[in-house]
Amino acid sequence: MQNGLQHNQANLVRLAVEGVDAAGIADTAITTWQAIETALSPILGERGVASLYQRSLYLARVDYPWLTAASKTPPQTRDFVDLRAALSQQSNAHAAAANGALLETFYNLLTSLIGAALTDRLLDSVLDNSTSNLDGHNTLP
């Protein structure tokens, strides 16, 4: 699954290099987060996923302080409005890097709690699918 994460991150960076703006990066990132939420909330509950997401934001803002803005509102993970807004206000490369760090933090957090094997089982379809979607991404201007 680490490969899936890296692939996902690499694709965001590639999109940034190819000139996709921060809003486009944010859209792609949010698609992945929504897929994660869809995969995990039936198992962990919406509140469970929201807690993990909030904790990941808290940890990731050490390197990306502006991510604090993404956790202003109470956990409403389904639309990720705050994250979308925060990413959109950065440069496209910075947005791609920050989202990659946030995703990795979330993955590591879940792994620390339920183990890599189970985390991979739960996120298996998500990151693979989001990766394949990104491969054929058509948001280039």
Binding site: P42, R47, G48, D124
Partner: protein, 495 residues
């Protein structure tokens, strides 16, 4: 007219001991409740059953409602060896309905369960914890489906959808007229009893429709392998076929002269109690009994509760343990139940095909038991001795017995009546020396010597000597010489 009755398939749960108690396994499509106080192992039992039974063809649905957060449940349950992450999302699906339950609308909860069941087509459904559902239904101004209706509809739905169902719940009182208990086909109750500093876990099958189960409280232990249940020994060995040894076979004791004292050796399948004070040679006699078996090609088992250092068992026994002629069961922990020891012992008897067993000693065995089992030690011991007799092994038990020179007793536990044969050892003082004497007190249904014989212990083991015919008052500890003693020729036991 077709008169064929329905045949209920039994699912083998894979939980050690549970299938024996269930009478072969869980009835397929049954509606079961696993109940008990918090921390007694309900969720672990449910997971263990689920991971054993779930396959891609018979997937499992584990529905978590309010109670233990699923994140924690997944975190802790995977510490058990039975947890196989490969099965998750393949043959095991976790579903969280906390939000629906929190609203207190049981019809919505039922609707969600129906949706999930129809989507996944599970062969196994677990609802954890069901107490949450019960509490949700008790919320004030609840205008929704009543708990009773919910249970009845859920039970009907699950059976119709051919799912074996488990409701996991915290119920503190089984006499509570809970509708769940009426609808349930099976009711598994887990308990944990505290006494002094000791905690003992017990499982009881209060109800299981359509099949004979083993009654009573069965102790269980939770380890990294999961739950291991020790079914009550007496019930388990009902099915044992017993010994194949010819009737009347006598086993040699491994101490020259003792066989003659016993009327030709210990009758096969008998239990023998060797009682005596500390250092009198009980363990050595036990070792000699096993070594003699090994010489005849038999395998023996030594359950040792004392003498922790290997060297204290003597080189002969150590070699026999190394070569596999004697299987050593070291009791690793205290707070055991007799049923746990019996389960361990019976499994080992079958594994090594043992014919001789030595328990050294009953005092150690009693100390290894949890306080709550020490109270009914005699009864538990009787159950174990009976079970071993049914299997057809010959048993030698040692028992620490303080010398009392104003009374003659054979066991501090009053266990003498339990055994078929008794040998008692005592110290006496003769010519300013501490001497040992031994007598055969009882060999059921057999003639035996009534002589009180001196014996020594040297590097070759026990050497039985003669009688002190020129002394009297041996059992008083300080015998005195008999004045004008004349030996009697008819006394066959005299040397």
């Amino acid at each position: 007219m077709n008169t064929e009755k329905v045949s209920i398939n039994r699912l083998v749960t894979g939980v050690p001991g549970l299938d024996e108690i269930l009478g072969g396994g869980l009835p397929e499509f049954s509606f079961n409740v696993i109940a008990g106080a918090p921390g007694c192992g309900k969720t672990t039992l449910a997971h263990q059953i689920m991971f054993a039974l779930a396959t891609p063809e018979r997937p499992a649905l584990y529905i978590t409602v309010l109670g233990e957060p699923p994140l924690k449940m997944l975190r802790y349950q995977q510490q058990f060896e039975f947890f196989d992450a490969e099965k998750v999302q393949c043959s095991i699906h976790f579903v969280n309905l906390a939000d629906d339950t929190a609203a207190g609308d049981l019809s919505k909860v039922l609707s969600r369960i129906v949706t999930e069941v129809q989507m996944r087509g599970p062969g196994l459904v677990f609802v954890d914890s069901f107490r949450s559902v019960v509490l949700a239904s008790q919320q004030e101004n609840n205008e929704f489906l009543s708990l009773q209706q919910f249970i009845q509809q859920l039970g009907m739905l699950m059976t119709s959808w051919q799912a074996t169902t488990f409701l996991i719940g915290e119920y503190f009182n089984e006499t509570d007229p809970n509708p769940v208990f009426t609808v349930a086909d099976g009711l598994i109750w887990l308990r944990q009893n505290m006494q002094r500093n000791s905690m003992v876990r017990k499982l009881e099958l209060i109800k299981m429709r359509g099949q004979p189960t083993l009654p009573g409280l069965h102790t269980f232990r939770i380890s990294s392998a999961g739950i291991n249940i020790f079914a009550r020994t007496q019930a388990v060995v009902q099915t044992e076929s017993g010994s194949t040894w010819p009737a009347g076979t006598r086993l040699k004791m491994g101490a020259p002269g003792l066989d003659e004292m016993m009327g030709g050796g210990l009758p096969h399948g008998y239990s023998l109690l060797v009682a005596g004070p500390s250092g009198s040679g009980k363990s050595i006699l036990g070792g000699a009994f096993l070594a003699e078996g090994a010489r005849n090609g038999e395998t023996g088992i030594l359950i040792a509760f004392e003498q922790h250092f290997n060297s204290t068992r003597g080189p002969v026994i150590e070699k026999l343990i190394e070569s596999g002629h004697i299987s050593l069961i070291d009791i690793p922990t205290s707070e055991l139940s007799i049923d746990e020891i019996s389960t361990l012992l019976i499994a080992e008897i079958h594994r090594v095909k043992a014919s001789r067993v030595v328990i050294d000693s009953l005092s150690g065995l009693e100390l290894a038991l949890a306080p709550s089992f020490q109270e009914d030690f005699r009864e538990s011991l009787a159950r174990m001795v009976w079970a071993l007799a049914k299997i057809g092994v010959s048993l030698l038990m040692t028992s620490e017995l303080e010398d009392r020179y104003n009374e003659l007793s054979f066991s501090p536990y009053g266990t003498a009546f339990l055994t078929d044969a008794i040998i008692v050892q005592r110290y006496i003082e003769v010519d300013s020396r501490l001497q040992r004497v031994m007598a055969v007190v009882k060999v059921r249904a057999s003639a035996h010597s009534n002589a009180l014989r001196l014996f020594d212990i040297d590097d070759n083991g026990i050497r039985i000597g003669g009688m002190l015919l020129d002394h009297e008052g041996l059992l008083g500890g300080s015998p005195s010489e008999r004045p004008n003693y004349k030996p009697l020729n008819r006394d066959a036991d005299s040397d």
